[in-house]
Amino acid sequence: MTTEMTAQKDVVEIDLDDSDEVRLIDSGKNPTRYARGWHCLGLAKTFRDGKPHSIEVFGTKIVVWADTKGKLNALDAFCRHMGGDLSQGLVKGDEISCPFHDWRWGGDGKCKAVPYAQRVPMRARTARWETMEQNGLFFIWNDPQGNPPPADITIPEIPGYGTDQWSEWTWNTFVVKGSNCREIVDNVVDMAHFFYVHYQMPQFFKNIFEGHVAAQHMRSTGREDIKTGVQFDLPDSETISDAAYYGPSFMLDTVYTVAGDTTVETKLVNCHYPISPDSFVLQFGTSVKTVDGVTPEKAAEMAALFTEGVETQFKQDVAIWKHKTRIENPLLTAEDGPVYQLRRWYEQFYVDVEDITEDMVARFEFEVDTTKALESWAVEVQDNIEKAASAAE
């Protein structure tokens, strides 16, 4: 027997298309722990109305209030005395008072006074969350291991925020039930959904993951057959979007909308916090830069228009999540983004710090080939325009 013949005999030809085997979906299980990291709970100013605010987050309920210096505090809502709900109580001086027996709790988690008792009992300390404000937004730090936030894990400051350079944040909130928050994080790498769900045509799409940051760089145009406010009604506009997740739940996106000589700069926040393993609060906010001949009034008007467009888009995401299944083993084409690598990055927030592996945090870059997608979409868009024109006749 010749070597050549042996080699031939050893070749097992597998025609994948000929296989009758059905691919099964592994729907996995939602995680039972909550991600380590800064979570935005909304606009800081909404918590400064002198009242306690009740927030369902991380499978529990917390109370947020402002003390006399304006510092925002976050404590577990359930009073360690008899389990009263502090978020239904009153702010008294710097403390939150329980509506059940008026126990007073400080932002440091300690019981400061029990007015009807001689003294506060031993171990009168409750769970508290580290808080932070950045760019007018309020954040709490979650860590199942109880460690404080490392100094280098933070949310970047927007240059000029707080001056009249930026319009006030618009702020929208959706409660998403029946889905784990990983669904929204998956969108970071999902090039093709931008066409179908967000009515964008990504010309260029690249992800870079590094450390606790997951970036998405996209250049896109709007769809000619379906327009939304994110194009600001600017004809033939191009969108340059540089977005990044800073930790597991907070994305900040710098969007330049370019149309001829006009460039509009918008900051878009897309963030969420988990209520339970299968529900979360999705929030987004936009602010438009007022420089370059854009007046503050015009910027606010533009932010409202952009927000309307983003709201339409997010509603479509929510409709998808409401009906889809969790899937651990997505079946991908060469034109899909790096879903598996993104989830590997995301996993770092769900393991103990000492269990973070190199593959979760090492820099990884992925540039998607959009050639075939753009060819196919151009035909589809043209077809839709023609159909709409003939239907209008």
Binding site: A244, D359, R363, E365, F366, T371
Partner: protein, 87 residues
């Protein structure tokens, strides 16, 4: 993924190509210290809000493009990563 060294600084990375426009790069070392361009950009505070995570190295890019032209990096089908391993 296939190993490649940047022709400018010698930094070793893993690369994968599904097509000529597609590129995927797995870094094996800290980019801000291994790559002089990223290191310099980092020192200059370039890259906007997400810093050098927003930037790519043009030398590495041209190294990969050249290797593809010369057939040293093959264009292949999609293979998903093994979790727990770099690549």
């Amino acid at each position: 993924m296939q190993p490649i060294d940047c022709h400018e600084c010698g930094t070793a990375v893993l690369v994968e190509k599904f097509s000529v426009p597609h590129t995927s790069v797995q870094w094996l070392s800290d980019s801000a210290s291994a790559c002089p361009r990223i290191s310099q950009a980092n020192a200059n505070g370039e890259g906007g809000l997400c810093g050098t995570t927003g930037l790519s190295c043009s030398s590495l890019r041209s190294t990969i493009d050249e290797a593809v032209r010369q057939g040293r990096i093959e264009i292949g089908g999609r293979v998903e990563p093994v979790i727990g391993q770099l690549g």
